[in-house]
Symmetry: C2
Subunit: 412 residues, 2 copies
């Protein structure tokens, strides 16, 4: 029987999956039909509560590390541990699967191994990494970046949300200690491998008719804030030639970014905008827009961003608008550990391999320890959208594959 056949998992797996999934489906649902689950909100606290309950139901002890990441242990925490997991937070109006599928699959893979009577020779952890999407404070993968020392504690604490609340204040409100955040080398070096299971964010597995795949790596990507500063004035009485309207260079930048990305198969998106004062009859005094850019290679990404920024600057100058740009986050090209990938591919009996343009905690951890990613087929190919979907059969195939991987890595 193939390692990807969920029927090998025993009759209880599907109902256990549906039960865990059903509990989660009530938390953070919004009017879009999807989910809004931002970090360090009351919804986030509910998600953390769900995680602790799921762990407790399995007699797995949960600890929240100094950076807010949760770890549920099968076996005593210690060196050489194998961790799996993902995140529970979401973008606004996001889908159900992005993040939670990896956490749920981690718990169910533990169940499956235990049912099979496996006795792992290494401790196993199911992790829920904190604030992966960066939807609230602008920087993605805050929990993993802090843990490995890629994000400085002071910089993290002073990040602020749209309402002006700092990350430090938000953590304190949620009962976490913002003074304790920072690099956690003991925890990082105690991990021998990290495996993140994630719903695929495109159509590659659907096109290949494969339920599960392995990631080869993650495109380099980043976020840049573009500030266009004009002059406030009356929308009726101010002649066109007297205006310094920041909306015009924004418009040219949106078009330039798309056309540059399209020309090279890269991605450039402006999807977040803040307009001041945002009134119908008052010319904008300031427009801020965020550029999300990704490409297969570092040089290609640099060319994309530099070209777009040059276009934005030229369009601003033409309108008498001041322009400034600030890189808010950047993640280098990640190639996931090749020997690990080969080993897991063999254990899984051969599955498709694919790169991704999405960032993940696995991409952050990959620069410190052997890391792998499993993708589960996405029926719609949609992502960061309520339309995102994986069938239950595919989710169970993911659980089975993850159990196989954990068995391989722990010698169970």
């Amino acid at each position: 029987m193939s390692a990807l056949t969920p029927s090998g998992a025993g009759p209880g797996l599907e109902s256990r999956f549906l039960a865990l999934w059903g509990e989660l489906s009530e938390i953070g649902r919004d009017s879009s039909g999807g989910y809004t689950r931002a970090a360090w909100t009351p919804v986030d606290a509910q998600l953390r509560g769900w995680f602790r309950s799921a762990a407790a139901a399995r007699a797995m002890q949960t600890e929240q590390d100094c950076n807010g990441n949760l770890w549920a242990w099968w076996g005593e925490p210690g060196p050489g541990a194998v961790a799996t997991g993902s995140h529970l937070d979401s973008v606004p109006n996001g889908g159900a699967f992005d993040g939670p599928l990896g956490v749920v699959s981690g718990f169910l893979a533990v169940d499956l191994l235990r049912e099979r009577g496996a006795s792992p020779r290494r401790p196993v952890a199911v992790a829920c990494m904190s604030d992966e999407e960066g939807a609230r404070f602008g920087v993605a993968c805050v929990g993993s970046r802090l843990m490995v020392g890629d994000l400085q504690p002071d910089a993290a604490r002073s990040l602020s949300d749209a309402a002006g609340t700092s990350l430090a204040q938000a953590m304190a409100t949620a009962g976490a200690d913002p003074g304790a955040i920072g690099a956690d080398p003991a925890r990082t070096s105690a991990l021998s491998a990290f495996v993140e299971l994630h719903v695929e964010q495109g159509r590659a597995l659907a096109d290949l008719s494969a339920p599960v795949g392995l990631a080869t790596g993650i495109w380099p990507h980043g976020r840049w804030r573009l500030d266009f500063e004009g002059e406030p004035n009356h929308a009726g009485t101010t002649r066109c030639e007297d205006r310094r309207d920041p909306m015009l260079p924004l418009a040219r930048t949106v078009l330039a970014a798309r056309s540059r990305a399209e020309a090279t198969g890269a991605r450039a998106t402006l999807a977040r905008v803040a307009v001041r004062p945002n009134a119908t009859n008052a010319i904008a005094s300031r427009v801020q827009a965020w550029l999300d850019a990704r490409a297969a290679g570092t040089g290609e990404l640099e060319a994309l961003v530099e070209g777009t920024v040059a276009d934005a600057r030229a369009a601003s100058e033409a309108e008498g608008v001041s322009f400034a740009v600030e890189r808010e986050s950047f993640t280098q090209l990640v190639e996931l550990d090749r020997p690990l990938r080969e080993r897991l591919g063999k254990a899984l009996g051969g599955v498709p391999e694919l790169p991704t343009a999405a960032g993940h905690d696995a991409g952050i951890l990959a620069r410190r320890l052997p890391t792998a990613m499993l993708f589960v087929r996405n029926a719609t190919g949609a992502s960061h959208s309520p339309l995102e979907h994986a069938t239950t059969q595919d989710c169970l195939a993911g659980v089975t594959a993850l159990a196989t991987v954990l068995a391989e890595l722990t010698g169970a």
Copy 2:
């Protein structure tokens, strides 16, 4: 001595102006250095309180009419009354003068006439019209439109702000009765004239070195909401060719509107935008934008709006984005009463006359009764901006001119 010489006003006028202005300057100030004074907010309640105090200090009785407009009376309310006034609400981050200058000048003109021992043969009212800017609920001049029956009560009650609060709820919270709003023909027909004094919203008087001018009329103008509905998806993993990104047709519409307006000396502005979900790494599912358009003539305005809407529709189709447009408000071309204008021009000893592209309560009332507008020179020409400015000397010239006008109209 010219009617425009403020020194003819007695030595106390300037200090009284500065005192009233000083009281107002504390209310609704924001971090832009300007003012945010939206209708039916706690700030609006403070402004109404200020109005009542200023009236009480002059032994003028204040009534709040069924539509939330305030009227302070010199003499018994009755038929043939002459009203002056403007509004106290503002756009977000607006200036100090747009609105308040007309209200303050009304009170001081009454002071001036009383000092001169004038005994008007008609009742005089100083008015503060409610929700002129429409900054919160999207429709401008709500108080005057309701009063003359140009806005239906049910339509008004169901207007809602960005937080989803309806106008009816906001009025009720502020202690006003939303069930009572609607046409007020008795009040309208009791007015023999309405004169609104307003800071100029451009540089015409500055260029002419004139402190005060008379309006000839108001350009036709309106607000249209443009809805671009796309498909949410992941900003990293979704190929450009698979996207239905509503930000792209928005960008083309911004550029098209500007270029069409520029070609004919009209105005078209997109300054208010609502993006859903407005997340850096999630392609927008929906963008709403508001088009503010104005032109010297009705045909010209229609051509501008129809052309821009056609551009928006074509750009949407090219991106697989749904497009819809809704006219949220529209005000016909207004020519202010010519005999009244000639009479006031003569009384003022000849002042420049100029049209305006800004809407005003005077424009709404002008379709029901003889209405005039006085403009006071704006040193910067800026409007809907903290940069808007009139010198104290020019403000006093405005008060003196308004007193002359009220004396002329009341036979004082």
